[in-house]
């Protein structure tokens, strides 16, 4: 089941940039790519907690600002030699508004808090 909620306008995020959404369980980074796709990932690098929203967005990837780990925005998986993954959530653009799936958000987060 999905629960799409509107978190803001696409133009609130610069192309190849990110902003965060504050949630009860920590910040989620919303990325906008050069070709206007949006992705949502936890704003916490699995390596040493770097804020991914502050990284450089290239193609459909982001590079963590602290130690340059690169993550796929589509899967949340670390690329190259590094191993790790970042929880990711469904996000989409509709009529210039960004929607994320709140159900998944709370689901994932509660999964994680249960773990």
């Amino acid at each position: 089941m999905t629960n799409w909620i509107d978190i803001g306008a696409l133009d609130d995020i610069p192309p190849r940039g990110a902003r965060v959404v504050r949630t009860a369980h920590g910040c989620v980074a919303i990325f906008r790519t050069g070709d206007d796709q949006v992705f949502a990932l936890d704003d916490r690098c699995p390596h040493k907690g770097g804020p991914l929203s502050e990284g450089i967005v290239h193609g459909a990837s982001v590079t963590c600002p602290l130690h340059n780990w690169v993550f796929s925005l589509e899967t949340g998986l670390a690329q190259g030699a590094d191993e790790g993954s970042v929880p990711s959530y469904s996000a989409r653009v509709d009529s210039g508004r960004i929607l994320i799936d709140a159900a998944q958000l709370s689901g994932q987060l509660s999964d994680r808090s249960a773990a």
Binding site: G17, E54, G59, T63, A102
Partner: protein, 814 residues
């Protein structure tokens, strides 16, 4: 028995002829060399850099005493030959008895033409031909406030004017024709040249006819024009043309016309008398540039040696030796029904290129502002190549020709042999190919044999491509040093291509340089963003999304994701008001840590990302701007208090530090750039381990560069010692700009200097005053865009982006 050769005139042509002669047969000749000038052969062309102060006379001497001695030449310098007796085969100098010859070489050059205006014989009216003229100009310029008038807006006149201006004179050029250098340039290029000279403060009067030279007590005081205007002057330089110097030869009964008649072997009407240089006339043509004279010299030497050789006149091209005025002209550019033009203009950069075509061949070329492709066009013109196939893109140069424009090797393969590859050392593609064929089969070997890429190194990629083209599959162009996985190009290639192909946007770089990824990655994109903004400050718009977080948020991200805030304190000076504002900000935003940095700044650590715009606004209100403590750009200028307080201080070191920081702040560079100024050699400000450090001494300012105190520890190397504060500032700016323009991204100055060589830097920043000024001017253009406080901008326009886009803390629990 040795043959007796007498040479009249020790100039550029005869000097080259003797070199060829001795190279082939050093012992066969007994040479006596007369010269009216009291010295041997020097590079006359380089009198202009001597005049402007860019070179000293000893640097332009071609043959010194040792050379003449080693080759057994009897020198009779300062002695004019007054008579040739062809029947007796002797020549007579001003002193001494007639001297017998077996062969005679006449190389008397030409005489400057002096317009016989009333007053032309006044003291202070000079031509521009030899060292004496040059020294007379230098002396006149030494008097403060002195004025010069130059009659003649051709090559010589303009070089004289530019040199005199550099020496501080007030200079006016009076030119008869409607535009400058009308024999080499069309009107449009003449206009751009005039504009460039006027920008340098030279007055240029075209379509102006001189009427009379005015004087007092036998000395020139002014030039009066036809329309009655008087131009006051202390010297008047006439540079209106030259006449072949044929008097001596004509008197001896040799056939002469405008010049001394010579045949293809450089023989005059007397088979024992040869002539070369500007004094000759060959098939009705006379000469005024050295390239054909060098050919004549070779032919004359071969004729003397009994080898068959023919002089074939070649196309000549002209370049003006005024640094910063890049112009090129070759061939025929008059109008005509049978001709077509291809014209390219870029008004913003002051670039004009025009090719003149007839029957699909280039017959003339005029370029101003960007002459990079001139050797390629000149080659097509000399070879009379049919250009029909590439007509559409011809004007854009070789990089756009020859099949797939994305393959840099194809562009290199298309270059003609005389295309210049290494600009520093003047090495052509042909030289490199010859070296490769001679066994130099890698970069190091080519560098060792030709010097190509040995200086600034930006042509390394090109040299490798020549290796690749020449050796084919035997040579694998090293890919290891490519910028990152997104591209096969090296940083050096990319910098060069961004400039030469005028790539002014990221999209252009991705497209034209065949990027393999959509929009780069965290390694290449910040570098490309920097190269673009450094090379095209007015055209390219800085892209924050291509910057590392520190530069994007104008604050240093810390281990825990909070930020540090460092306000700028120019020259390490502050006030009680600033300190109070900093303390207030620290309290208001719960700053946990306050630290005094190594660069004499106060660092507020642990500021939350969303508080940044607010704390910046508070600091802005107290008059402080960003300290750029996070940037690859100008960081800090650290100073000691200097002579205002310190009993050892020799000068106002903190004052200089403040001025430097006020000039430089806000600029981006390949890596961070830190400076320091110490008031005396005790060096409290630790200037000797900075990227650039100044130590004040009694006699002036010692400037050192390339220090480091990080992972590498390095002491600065001396760049210059200068007397005035202004010059110290100028050199600092020029050095910084040269670094900004040519270094690889993330190379600190010491690494960059290790690659290009300190001498290379000195030539541009210290020795060549025009280049220094050009660097300063370009820095000023860049600063007009980039010297602004990012804090103020962000606090005002972008504060919102520092907040979460949404707060779901209430909904998420659901």
């Amino acid at each position: 028995m040795k043959q007796r050769l007498v040479v009249i005139g020790a100039g550029m042509a005869s000097g080259r002829a003797l070199e060829h002669l001795f190279a082939a047969d050093r012992d066969g000749w007994d040479v006596t060399l007369f010269n009216a000038e009291p010295r041997g052969n020097y590079n006359r062309i380089m009198l202009s850099p001597v005049l402007s102060g860019e070179k000293a006379f000893p640097e332009i001497v071609t043959h010194d005493d040792t050379w003449y001695e080693e080759n057994g030449v009897t020198c009779r310098f300062g002695e004019k030959v007054t008579h040739i007796d062809r029947a007796a085969k002797t020549v007579t100098g001003e002193t001494g008895a007639p001297l017998a010859y077996d062969k005679l070489l006449v190389a008397t050059g030409s005489n400057p033409f002096i317009i016989p205006l009333p007053g032309h014989d006044l003291d202070g009216v000079i031509a521009y031909r030899d060292l004496e003229d040059t020294n007379a100009m230098i002396q006149a310029a030494a008097r403060p406030g002195s004025k010069a008038v130059v009659i003649g807006g051709g090559l010589l006149g303009l070089e004289a004017a530019a040199g005199l201006k550099l020496r501080g004179m007030d200079v006016t050029v009076v030119h008869l024709m409607g535009h400058l250098m009308e024999r080499q340039l069309d009107e449009a290029a003449g206009y751009l040249l005039r504009k460039a000279l006027v920008d340098r403060g030279i007055n240029v009067l075209c379509s102006s006819n001189s009427k009379q030279i005015l004087g007092r007590d036998g000395k020139v005081t002014a030039l009066m024009l036809e329309d009655g205007t008087e131009l006051p002057c202390d010297i008047l330089v006439m540079a209106v043309g030259i006449r072949p110097n044929t008097g001596l030869a004509a008197e001896a009964g040799l056939a002469t016309g405008r010049g001394i008649h010579v045949d293809d072997h450089m023989l005059t009407s007397d088979p024992d008398v040869l002539a070369v240089g500007e004094c000759v006339e060959h098939n009705g043509a006379i000469f005024g540039l050295v390239a054909p004279l060098y050919d004549q010299a070779r032919v004359a030497a071969q004729t003397l040696l009994g080898e068959p050789a023919h002089f074939v006149p070649r196309e000549v091209s002209t370049k003006l030796k005024v640094t910063g005025c890049d112009l090129f002209s070759a061939g025929d550019f008059g109008d005509g029904d049978d001709r077509e033009d291809i014209v390219f203009r870029d008004p913003a950069r002051g670039v004009y290129k025009r090719l003149i075509l007839r029957d699909n061949k280039i017959i003339g070329a005029v370029m101003y502002g960007d002459t990079a492709d001139s050797s390629w066009f000149f080659g097509l013109m000399k070879d009379e190549e049919d250009i029909a196939e590439m007509r559409e893109t011809l004007i854009f140069g070789p990089a756009y020709q020859g099949g797939d424009p994305l393959d840099p090797t194809a562009a290199v393969a298309a270059l003609p042999a005389d295309a210049e590859i290494c600009g520093c050392n003047g090495v052509s593609k042909g030289d490199i190919v010859a070296a490769i064929q001679g066994g130099a089969n890698d970069l190091a070997a080519v560098r060792a044999t030709t010097k190509a890429s040995g200086s600034c190194g930006t042509c390394t990629g090109l040299v490798e491509q020549v290796l690749g083209v020449t050796l084919g599959d035997d040579f694998v162009i090293p890919a290891a040093q490519s910028i990152c996985g997104c591209s096969d190009h090296s940083h050096e290639d990319i910098r060069r291509l961004i400039k030469s192909r005028e790539l002014k946007s990221q999209a252009a770089v991705w497209q034209e340089l065949a990027w393999k990824t959509r929009d780069g990655c965290h390694t290449c994109r910040p570098a490309i963003n920097y190269y673009l903004l450094a090379d095209w400050p007015l055209e390219y718009q800085d892209d924050p999304q291509s910057r590392f977080i520190n530069e994007r948020k104008h604050a240093n991200i810390q281990k825990d994701g909070t930020f540090s805030v460092v306000p700028r304190m120019f020259g390490g000076m502050t006030t009680s008001d600033e300190l109070r504002a900093i303390a207030d900000a620290a309290d208001k935003y719960d700053v946990p840590t306050i630290h005094v940095t190594g660069g004499q700044r106060i660092d507020l650590l642990g500021v939350k990302g969303e508080d940044l715009p607010a704390i910046w606004a508070d600091l802005n209100r107290a008059g402080m701007v960003s300290g750029h403590a996070y940037s690859k750009g100008l960081r800090t200028v650290k100073t000691c208090v200097g002579k205002d307080h310190c009993r050892f201080g020799t000068r106002d070191s903190s004052g200089l530090g403040i001025k430097l920081e006020q000039t430089l702040w806000g600029a981006w560079s390949p890596h961070k750039f830190k400076l320091a100024v110490s008031g005396c050699p005790r060096n409290c400000a630790e200037a000797t381990c900075k990227d650039l450090g100044v130590i004040c001494v009694d006699s002036g300012y010692q400037i050192g560069v390339g220090g480091a105190a990080g992972m590498d520890l390095k002491q600065t190397e001396p760049l210059a010692q200068v007397a005035s504060e202004q010059e110290a500032i100028d050199i600092t700016i020029a050095f910084y700009q040269l670094y900004r323009e040519t270094a690889k991204y993330l190379d600190r100055p010491y690494k960059w200097i290790a690659k290009v060589g300190l001498d290379w830097v000195k030539e541009r920043v210290i020795d060549d005053l025009d280049m220094r000024q050009a660097l300063i001017d370009r820095f000023a253009i860049s600063q007009s865009v980039y010297q602004k406080d990012p804090w103020a901008e962000h606090a005002k326009d972008r504060a919102e982006t520092y907040q979460p886009v949404a707060d779901l803390t209430l909904q998420a629990a659901e």
